[in-house]
Symmetry: D2
């Protein structure tokens, strides 16, 4: 059953996680003001799924055929990929980062990997995962992805660390389950999740089976300690956006945490675990594209408002036109890679769909570098007021507020309060800790640019292109057509009649 | 019936156009060496349509249900848009510029405009066009698009020119047809086309009805004089690509040319003519994306070969890796906009499909500027030999060839001849007239960057984004979902069951 | 007599300005913690002038021949311009923004303008200014530049505003002085200055004489109310830089402030006032180049440290090498424009030297846009820890600190504390309000990019270059040399023997 | 005695080099039309040195105190560096590439290296070089720099090549001189030089003494065979620039060439030879900056003319303004690095001056990548006519010329002929083999971008910047000043009174 935001918040009260924030233990996550913006943002993913106009985007049918939140669903078609992309953009353009799509990325990656494990070795991993997904769908859970390890000494492999807890690993295998220990860093939304999904963050060698572990635990399982940063800038009156919507990131220490087998999805299958991390990256980078496009929507809208509040028509002043187009070009330029990645999505052997890897990586790579240009353009259309406006406390200073609101009002028809609001909104999104967080998370979240470049090089068929040039040297034009390949034919990857064929069925069926 | 390249070339002999090249009248276009690369490139679009493996991409069903070349077809689904995009890339990665896709762009734009004209005013324009398209499909014609006018004094409108022939216009309307005069510039493939399709290149005022004319004429109609540039660098042994495949551009002077009414598609309907130019731009910019992606394929392939011929592994040398990824990122980055533009294609009221305007314009804008980066990257991975290698005449100089081939061979396993071939291929594509032509045509072809920016600004919903920010100021999160819009929902633009719905029918039907 | 930082701070106690911060009146500026980082940063300019090794850079001889701080001096040679540039970089690479160089920029611009006023109209303006400069040098003052007006309705001129105080202007001229009213925004270091120097911020029309006013007033003159933002992030333990060094910006309301004539430098000379604003811009943009190069030094140093703390050798890992070079290229690329602007400095008719306008504007334009790339590169070499590290309060949490310092230490030889320090330093400089301030102030401070472009276009001799091309069309090679100009010959702008000639005297004298 | 261009051309007739071009032996270089543009461009460096207004830039005093061409002189001050930079720009903005400045670069690098050799090992190398320089100055010679070896198999060192002639090396040492063999590639201006100066192109190992050879030989020395490319596009009526001015590049095979000892400057001193190549790179990259700034002057001038011929005011049309500023910003941005490199020039122990390495490398790196942007901007301001204009043969076709000149004239006051001239001039410079040559030579000439990055990293003091950050962590502000370094103090590198001190002597002496 799908929850409302309020029901989600209430459901957090039933959990008793051990969470530190600013050096102190948190009594009640649901009532902690410094987590409030994070809970609000997560709440958007709940409430929007209940809004009639948004349902076709925000929900789909779950494993049992009942409606479920799209962020908990397995993709059954290329259209699902595209709908997920739009759902991410939709929630992020309201909440900045909707946090919950990471669950989708993990579920789909595990779906493929556990299916393959059972195809190869037999076993019940895939069935366990399906049970768990059903459990998440039925209870409309928020699940934190605990993937990035603490890592310790970067020059050593996981198994070589002096401090073995640098990576989460299995320390004991019992008859009824496993025991894990170690540290996971950078868990998005960590403190206000219902569960944590533990997954390996890199390729493990064959002898590092203990480190190739994927499993799910309740957030308040015995042995888990979480250290979180606050979500956004709660309580700051200048934080026009991030006092309301934001994200916390947390570090979790797993100290002898027991996990029953029905929640263990990968345990030592190093090869499939590696495939899982690669596929997770593809799903996640595709999602990141939607998220940052939503951020682009906010900057485009706010930049236009600021120009207007300054008394300028952004459609007429040439340099403003230029910069507005640039902002749009960047945002829709990388979003186009997301769409292309949906359209060219791959029908995995396990039966679900995965975004095309090349376009997902290029889109993420583009946004990673261009988020800085987006900040620049937003500042350029906005002007210097963004960092010069006196603070909100001054708005009600009887000595100064009258004269300030008179002379710092740009356009005569726009009240000072509105101009101040927009100015602080842009400052919050681009020139504050919140802005810094968006930059760095865009650059490094889902893997840093070098990781994307590696993935592109690994998968792009450069040789086919060299063969083409060689063919031009060797053979006549007529003959050439015979060996030449059409690059990509969406919807033709599998037999007609399969759901994935949908994207071109208008023609082929 | 679809022709082979050889049949196409033969068919040109039946025509007697009046064509000047290098100041002299051309006897036989089909036998003129300076047009040979252009005829070869056009020929690729014929031959490839006959190759079994390429048929599903290169052909579709025509108006009469029989197979036709995709470059002569009306799009009936989003999949058609994507197949056309791939057909353009396919032919251009072999022939550089396939020239014939402009016919597709014009046919589809006229299809929409003439339908609207007849909806609005009645008449037979649309039926005439369908007849003409059927004629073109049945005879597998190559049709040059005569759109860009001579323009004369840029500070004056078409109707104000001292020299009225600066723009093609109707000078007489007879009972059986119209008479047109004026100059069209930049006709791609002009001399070796079967027909010319005359279309207005800009918005005409209501009183400029005579200038709002679209009609078709045989290339050798009385009164037409064509002045052409040669196609590529024919006969130049260093021109490893453009001695074989290239394009001619031509200027055509229409001097009292009679056009019977069954070949007149627009005559004075200024508003619909303007819509036609806008929609042509969208179709054409979408096509340009495919064309330049094919160019990207050539550079990626050749760059990799050159690095190897230099003795370097482009997957291992860090700066080569970096630049190869960059080349791929640029090429697939703008191609992704083409795919997105197909996926989000619009079902026109006339019944055909048009690429999404925003993505088509962004993709073209990206390639327009980035073609220069592509040249730079190709040069960077190739090294300085590209402009330092002695000319091909030196390859057989008995005094010098032995020592040159010894010391200018990079990798010991790669013969000098191969390295020289690749070096000259890259020089031809990026550091010769051919390279310059690709640059400028990428920048200005289909409209210059400023035209794309204008189109993006005109069509992008900035206000919806400002409304979103305002909503964030005004209302609570829960309530917000109610008014918010999902940006784009492919395949939901029209009623279920329509052909265009195909893109999501996997889910919706 | 030159003060120490401590003497400067002490001297502030003698003043009683009316300053609001966060809505409250400030008792003692010198003791206000929220101004502390700003006073520290200003203090650096005092203390460094007393350090033997730095004296030749930080000081020069004043009007009376005694040593004075370079930020209060009039440039007497091109070497002075270059020494000033280095003094700015030197202080800014320690203090982020040294604030006091704006005084230099204003003094030099007023020096030129008042000299011209007296040349043209007679009078004592220049002498008054010299007296004031001597007063500032003798007392080693910090003087805030009150230039940017409140501006009000951007679509109206200063004289047309509904609220006349939108711009500071003369409201009364008495026998002993003038009375001014109005609002000045964005005063760097406003609260902890000794005096304010009021100057017009734009061209005034002939009839706007009342708005063309430049004069000096003590910070605590009757009628001045200042509303300030805090300086940096004082008291924030995560603010590794900006808790120590930062800048406040303030708005000042002048309400019937009396200024005696010996402190009035421009009053109604609109043409010379406009020249002053243009020349101020040149001096100031030149200074900005030095300031942001100092910021670049900090990022280069911290980026290298962070890479090392992550366990990586930035000279060996290819992508780190690439990004370090990029950071250096940007920083030294715009700094080179500063040097060029010094080397090509202009000997003003008044006798002082002004940086070359073209290079000063290009350098500022480059840094304005590239500050965002600098942030990106710093983040790229640093990794995601910058926004994921738990806050400093967690460093001493007995429950979590041991495990965190174990697993979040990158290189085994680098203590966790060091890695955390560097990470927070980079976060502070690039991903916090401080980082946002540096971005926006780099973009818009000293005029926004559009202002620089305008200035470049106004001053660059494009026509000489068109003449060159025309000459190539018209004339033979030999003859051409006769009319052709060498672009710029440093040190040859005035007669030999003048001080400015120094830059080439090694050859010419 | 300084020659005129005509005397230079005449002097070539006295030489009998063995030169192949297009597979044939050239009878007389001075009369070969395909070398004419190269001889013209070299001639500019002669004629300009005789023009009164240009003498102070183009000449200086030689070793014997008599006037000599600056491109043959040793730098005696920073002002000399700057004058050389301007001389390069001056000649290149007329002739595209003046070719002869490479002699300057080699002379200065050898000056330093031979001085060091004699300081270290004794001997007469430096004296021999001085004699040779005096010989060159006295006879006003053009000397080709034969540096880049054939290289053969890139994966092997010079001494390991199967074909030993892949690198020029000493094969015999006689009592009266040495005998060398091998291939040098990419010799600028090769065929129409008086002499060739052979120099090693890379670091040689200690055991590769035979490869560390620098010596001078007459162009027609026995055993030299030269294979050249033509200079530009001679005889091509569309080549508005490169039919008149251009450069040839050549390959030279040295087959048992005898060099008497008084022309041998380095022979086996591998360490000093390596230093020579590094210093040559610095001198040469500094020169390249001037050369490409001259190219920028041509593009800026021609772009402005083309916009005007199109009927547009580039100062008013916003997007043209933007692009003209961008062209200026790029050109002067890298030229500023050249000026900075002069201003910060280093006084070598040998007594001459060398440009600052960091700025010379950054400037060259900037132009290497931005030449492509310059092409783009030139195309953008020019419009598509650049590749669509019918060829010059058509200008006199009686059938078509009248109508073409009517409708292809843009601005009514600008004759068609002028617009065509400017269009072809831009096509020639940016969209032809000439344009391609400028791109690739800018990218790879004087070393490819990776070489510059390496040099920057090797020489930039990153550690000092990390120390600075560490000092900020460790110490108080006051104390800090004591250890801190001012980055660069021009003119203070050596004792007062030395010539190099000139740049700041206006202040210090």
């Amino acid at each position: 059953m799908m929850k409302s935001a309020e029901e989600y918040r209430e459901s957090l009260r039933a959990l008793k996680p051990r969470i530190y924030l600013g050096g102190s233990l948190i009594e009640s996550v649901a009532d902690e003001p410094r987590f409030e913006p994070g809970i609000n943002a997560t709440g958007i993913t709940y409430d929007f799924a209940l809004v009639d106009d948004l349902k076709s985007t925000m929900t789909t049918s779950g494993l049992d055929g009942k409606p479920t939140n799209r962020f908990l669903a397995i993709n059954r078609s290329r259209a699902d990929l595209q709908d997920k992309l739009e759902a991410v953009r939709l929630t992020c353009k309201v909440a900045g980062c909707a946090q919950r799509y990471l669950t989708h990325d993990a579920f789909n990656a595990l779906f493929e990997a556990t299916w393959l494990i059972n195809e190869t070795y037999g076993g019940e991993n895939h069935a366990r995962l399906l049970d768990y997904i059903q459990y998440a769908q039925t209870n409309d859970l928020s699940i934190g992805i605990a993937m990035t390890d603490g890592k310790g000494d970067r020059s050593k492999r996981p198994s070589e660390q002096d401090q073995p807890d640098s990576y989460v690993h299995v320390i004991e295998r019992r008859s009824d389950g496993i025991v894990i220990s170690g540290v996971k860093a950078i868990i998005t939304g960590g403190p206000y999740m219902h569960e944590l999904l533990v997954m390996p963050c890199r390729r493990m060698d064959k002898h590092e089976k203990d480190f190739a572990v994927a499993c799910a635990v309740p957030i308040d399982a015995a042995g888990i300690t979480i250290v979180s940063r606050p979500a956004g800038r709660p309580g700051n009156p200048a934080a026009k956006f991030s006092a309301k919507f934001a994200q916390a990131v947390a570090v979790a220490h797993f100290d002898n945490v027991f996990v029953p087998y029905d929640r263990v999805f990968i345990d030592g299958e190093t090869e499939e675990a590696h495939l899982m991390t690669t596929n997770y990256a593809t799903h996640h980078r595709h999602s990141c594209i939607g998220a940052r496009a939503g951020f682009g929507d906010l900057l485009i809208g706010a930049g236009a408002m600021m120009a207007q509040a300054n008394g300028l028509d952004y459609l007429k002043v040439p340099h403003l036109r230029e910069k507005m187009v640039e902002l749009i070009k960047i945002t829709e330029g990388f979003y186009a890679c997301g769409i292309a990645s949906s359209t060219m999505g791959v029908h995995d052997a396990a039966g679900n769909f995965r975004p095309d890897q090349i376009y997902a990586n290029i889109g993420k790579l583009l946004l990673a570098n261009q988020i800085y240009d987006m900040h620049r353009l937003a500042h350029d259309v906005s002007g210097g007021l963004v960092v010069a406006l006196p603070g909100p406390e001054e708005d009600h200073n009887p000595v100064t507020s009258a004269i300030l609101s008179d002379v710092l009002r740009g356009h005569p028809d726009v009240p000072y309060e509105h101009r101040a609001n927009v100015s602080r909104f842009i400052e919050d999104l681009t020139a504050s800790e919140t802005g810094g967080w968006y930059s760095v998370i865009s650059l490094h979240g889902g893997g840093s640019p070098e990781a994307m470049k590696l993935e592109i090089l690994r998968n792009y068929d450069i040789e086919a292109r060299s063969d083409l040039v060689q063919a031009l040297f060797d053979r006549g034009a007529l003959e050439m057509g015979k060996g030449i390949k059409v690059d990509r034919q969406p919807g033709r990857c599998c037999a007609k009649g399969c759901q994935g064929d949908g994207l071109v069925s208008g023609k082929d069926t």
